[in-house]
């Protein structure tokens, strides 16, 4: 998860690297599906790496879908689809921050998903940790984020 049109160059670069690492783990990558920012970079990175990519679109058609998405779910429920993004994920990776992304982190905590913030700003780290220190994890970059996710999944078994 991460910003769409407002994503920084760093956000996109991290998301692309993360997508590739997720593919190497043979995990399915799920994003918000649009052809913009972190969604697009992560899906494209994972697809290039050879794993299946799923995108949950807010719109009622597929015109805005990222070419990196293999399976497009057309939700038609606008920003309410952010709930589906997090409920359908085992671990939520976050590159960058925006209002839409913040709603996904918040809904992930509400529905008891683990969230891994990659290189968060000091304000973001402090706030989310104050809300739920147990579910919020911080990674210095995509490789550490994947290490944390692997550990969380193994612990759960």
């Amino acid at each position: 998860m991460g910003p769409g049109e407002g994503a920084s160059e760093t956000d996109r670069h991290m998301a692309s690297e993360l997508g590739g690492l997720i593919a190497r783990e043979r995990w399915v990558l799920l994003t918000g599906g649009r052809n913009a920012g972190v969604m697009d970079a992560a899906a494209t990175g994972a697809q290039k790496g050879g794993t299946l990519t799923v995108g949950i679109l807010p719109s009622d058609d597929a015109t805005s879908v990222s070419p990196g998405v293999d399976i497009a779910i057309i939700s038609g429920i606008g920003e309410a689809r952010n709930l589906i993004n997090v409920l359908s994920s085992r671990v939520v990776f976050v590159c960058g921050m925006s209002p839409g992304t913040a709603s996904e982190v918040a809904l992930a905590l509400k529905t008891e998903r683990d969230v891994i913030l990659i290189q968060p700003s000091p304000e973001s780290r402090a706030f989310w940790t104050s809300l739920d220190a147990r579910r919020i994890h911080v990674a210095a970059g995509p490789p550490e984020a994947v290490d944390i996710a692997r550990r969380l999944i193994e612990e759960e078994r």
Copy 2:
């Protein structure tokens, strides 16, 4: 699409055969995802046939998912997920009829999807045809339904 717990033996049998035929076409099969009735039979039939199966669950966890579903989307929005089922489908196949199924047929017509009713009751056939004769197609069984779908997809290209 079709009834869950209230599915008849015939509904389930047709759904299973349909799943197998969809797999043979290499189409992705999408259902409402639960471990009941037509959803379960169609997903299991398609999975056995070797194609990818997607299930859009109404619940906020995956406890009710059919074992025939490869990719479970956990929507958490209850029956409102019926909109997503039809928006995400190119063609909607219908085996049997129930209130939930009727909501999917209606939303499919509202959002301009083609609907193929397989062995509908006279009341079902007459009603849906009176609403939208152009989008409603009737098939005598799963093989004819797949023939109709193939033709619709080819026409669109």
Copy 3:
């Protein structure tokens, strides 16, 4: 509930009369909220009669709201808001029929609401009765529909 842009003159006329009768009962009237067809006529009729009117809009702003709506709920979830329309209603009155209306009748049956079809077509009456004869009621016009609703509410107490 009833057609929007596709409503007939009769549909609109019945909806307006129904709104007035609902106002006389001091019931709150709830519609899909848009400035079109049955929604608009029913809300305007009820507002003129002096009762509170609620509209659940599909859009993410209020530009399409009927002037007959006192309380506009802006859902932002498109046609998925049809579920909210019926869940929030004690009794669902239906004037006319369209794909959107059919989705509301179907969701009402699925969630166990009583539905009163006013002057339905033979196809509509036969189909919905075949799905759930206990929940479907048929009225010759708005006054009989309100009589049926009053009786259902009294029985429930």
Copy 4:
């Protein structure tokens, strides 16, 4: 908006006072509708003050509704109803903070609503301001919050 079961005594007290002040302005008060925490205190306070109160419930029935809610909207879409809460509001008042509340603040910013944080924690204030300094307002208590809202509404006209 504010925490449900996890609300502090201060959160509830502020919400109740805020509800009373909103009633004095003759504004309609809208909450998440449940019989818990800030939702319940704000609705009850506003209802006592004599204004109309609306509650958007996440559940598919009304068993959890606050007695302070006059108009219960039963959404049936779980936490996805948080989008409706903010879209249907002109100004979003926030007492306390929790994951659910954070999702509402985030969706309010995403959909360009003004948000007034009442006595926020330093972490909350710093984070939300870093996301959107123009839409986030901070108030020392309910009276100042209502002053800010009145000014925002007047500016808009």
